[in-house]
């Protein structure tokens, strides 16, 4: 079973890297780029076979390590 974890800065937290990417896209001539947010995608292969248990486990991983919930939010998908 594979889990995909998306970690993004919370709304309202300034993302200077995303802002730099937005500026660079403008420099390349891409018009109308209103905002860019940069985050992380983490793929985890799990031995678990129970979907709900796997999701609970991965959410615990997010809380304890994969995301800093002071500034980041996360989303978990189980394939």
């Amino acid at each position: 079973m594979r889990a995909r974890v998306e970690v993004m800065l919370k709304d309202g937290v300034l993302d200077p890297q995303g802002e730099a990417v937005r500026a660079a896209l403008g420099t390349l001539g891409f018009r109308g780029v209103e905002a860019v947010r940069q985050g992380k995608l983490i793929e985890i292969d799990l031995a678990a076979t129970d979907r709900a248990a796997a999701e609970a486990e991965v959410r615990a991983m997010c809380e304890r390590l994969l995301a800093n919930t002071v500034i980041e939010r996360f989303r978990v998908e189980i394939d």
């Binding site: 937290v13 300034l14 200077p16 890297q17 002071v70 500034i71």
Partner: protein, 222 residues
């Protein structure tokens, strides 16, 4: 004074920090990140600057979960003093021993220069060698020193006098110009500037030595 200095893979200020403690008269114990127990009888534990675990995932995130940090958290819970400098500050926030988070510098650049700071809390074992409101100069060298906290936490830190140092010319975008933060019991200090790199005027500033002398004074009996 008995001081411990933790070394993580990628720490690069651990020796400087050990030397700074020793110069103030401390007996220094070096601690490896895999050590699950701290030496007995420590007064203070220092977490050094550097790039622990290559800054993988987030600065300080992996180090904060190392066995030695479990021991440091227990030491802090018993009322022990902990000093985190630069990456050590990042480790302390990641470990939940200090609130808030350190993000990428607002200007996106690595900042490496001496900055001017104002002492906002001179009533701790770390800072009593400076005067309240004194201006000091210490070097910073970091890419992720942009301290952020929500409005409620910022006003709480302010109200409780837990902002130890403020930048006079904010180099990284930190909220409220915060350069150093204290825990609720004022025994855990996280700071982005490097006092261990400012022990002698030949280093550009000797203002950092007051911190180590203050600690030595606080633990003179030990």
């Amino acid at each position: 004074m008995r001081a411990g200095v933790v070394t993580f893979p990628g720490s690069n200020c651990d020796r400087d920090l050990a030397e700074a403690f020793a110069a103030a008269g401390a007996r220094v114990h070096r601690i490896w990140h895999k050590d699950a127990d701290l030496p007995a009888g420590l007064d203070v534990v220092g977490l050094p600057g550097g790039f622990s675990f290559g800054d993988y995932l987030r600065c300080g995130a992996i180090a904060a979960r190392a066995p030695a940090m479990q021991a440091v958290a227990a030491f802090a819970a018993r009322g022990g003093h902990v000093l985190g400098i630069c990456n050590g500050f990042q480790v302390l926030t990641e470990a939940g021993l200090l609130p808030g988070a350190l993000m990428r510098n607002a200007g996106l650049r690595f900042v490496c220069r001496t900055v001017r700071l104002r002492v906002e809390a001179a009533d701790t074992a770390f800072t009593s060698g400076w005067n309240q409101g004194q201006e000091i100069a210490l070097p910073v060298a970091h890419h992720d020193g942009n301290y952020q906290a929500d409005a409620a936490l910022l006003s709480r830190l302010e109200g409780e006098g837990r902002i130890a140092l403020r930048y006079l010319d904010n180099p990284n975008g930190s909220a409220a110009d915060i350069a150093a933060v204290l825990s609720e019991n004022r025994r855990v200090l996280g700071m982005m500037p490097h006092p261990e790199r400012a022990l002698d005027r030949r280093q550009g500033s000797a203002d950092g030595s007051a911190l180590f002398r203050a600690l030595a004074g606080a633990f003179a009996a030990a």
